[in-house]
């Protein structure tokens, strides 16, 4: 039964994730944390973080992680397969339209895409709020060291156009050093 649950859950993730990996975050969370309780909130955001540092799409990474945890290696393969299955149908259908006859389908798709853009912005914002909550709040209050590092990182990203990978590595390392110094000083 667990395999069926994984299958239907990740098929929905594959089918309704639009607008790229960050927009998929709330959808994946809805399925694997809120509905099925396969991961804790902390584990979920750990995966988002790991996915950010490794090659591969967010949804595929989450599928593999959840699949392994819930049903071992067969679970990982099944969850990944379920995630790409809707894409295989939809995108090959679109490909055959594109390469054989350019019909009105492309026009409809553009309008759908245009329509869901605000929803995509909302989903990415929701992912941002969730991550800020897990990254900056400790025991129901804001941690000022974490907040300071976060604001600095946002500033550097916006003003200096730093590469996200550099931001990740530096903030991981900097936080570890600062935290160690603080702990040592106390």
């Amino acid at each position: 039964m667990i395999f069926l649950k994984l299958f239907f859950s990740f098929i929905q993730i594959g089918l309704f994730s639009v607008g790229g990996g960050y927009a998929a975050i709330p959808l994946i969370k809805e399925q694997v944390v809120n509905l099925h309780g396969w991961l804790t909130v902390k584990e979920f955001y750990d995966i988002v973080t790991i996915a950010e540092m490794t090659p591969g799409p967010m949804a595929i990474n989450a599928a593999t992680f959840v699949g392994i945890k819930i049903a071992g290696i067969p679970g990982a393969f099944l969850a990944t397969f379920s995630t790409v299955l809707p894409s295989i149908f939809i995108v090959t259908a679109l490909a055959s339209l594109l390469y054989h006859k350019r019909g009105p389908a492309v026009g409809y798709m553009e309008r759908v895409l245009y329509g869901i853009r605000p929803a995509v912005v909302a989903m990415i914002s929701s992912a941002a709020l969730g991550l800020m909550k897990i990254a900056l709040i400790e025991d129901a209050s804001i941690d000022f060291l974490e907040l300071g590092l976060f604001l600095l990182a946002v500033y550097v990203l916006r003003k200096k156009k730093a590469s996200p990978m550099v931001i990740l590595v530096v903030s991981g390392f900097a936080f570890f050093v600062l935290q160690s110094v603080l702990t040592f000083a106390q």
């Binding site: 309704f16 909302a122 570890f176």
Partner: protein
């Protein structure tokens, strides 16, 4: 245009290789494809790559996987799509598979947990940066209705726990109905 053929095995290998080395999501993958298939090998024309990019982004699912399905189809039809998909998902499957075993072992270590926390602060900053960019883009389009729609979706999501598929379907229907 020179007509060049690629065997299924070559398609599989290219997907496997690019998928192992491409960090940073679907848009980076499209950039890597452009370099390999348009600039280096001249198998595709630049406009073809742009079509692939547009459809990969608009269809549901992971952008990088969608791009490989399209590219595989363009190179070798449906078998090409399937083999490209396999090549694209195997590296993340393998990498995350190994990392998840390591994760279970090491997440209890305070050192690992602290570094993880720092990385999460970085990820939060990256996504907030993206949100700010998106808000600027909507403001630049000067369509206040898009702001309202985005805000309404956010409230629906956070306050009323409206399922995401429902939000997507409603907004897609709105898109078909609204005039551009």
């Amino acid at each position: 245009m020179k007509k060049k053929e690629m065997s299924l095995f070559q398609i599989f290998l290219s997907a496997l290789k690019l998928s192992s080395i491409t960090f940073g999501g679907g848009f980076v993958m499209i950039g890597m494809m452009e370099r390999k298939f348009v600039q280096e090998t001249e198998i595709l024309r630049s406009e073809e790559m742009m079509d692939i990019a547009a459809i990969a982004q608009s269809a549901p699912g992971a952008v990088a996987v969608n791009a490989w399905i399209l590219l595989g189809y363009r190179l070798a039809g449906l078998p090409g799509s399937l083999i490209a998909t396999l090549g694209a998902v195997l590296p993340p499957l393998f990498i995350i598979g190994v990392l998840s075993l390591i994760y279970q072992q090491f997440i209890t270590s305070p050192v690992v947990a602290t570094i993880m926390k720092g990385l999460q602060i970085g990820v939060a900053a990256i996504i907030v940066d993206l949100v700010l960019t998106l808000i600027q883009a909507i403001a630049g389009d000067s369509r206040p209705i898009d702001f309202l729609l985005a805000f309404a979706a956010l409230i629906a999501l956070l306050q009323f726990n409206v399922p995401i598929y429902m939000i997507i379907l409603i907004y897609a229907a709105l898109g078909l109905w609204r005039k551009k």
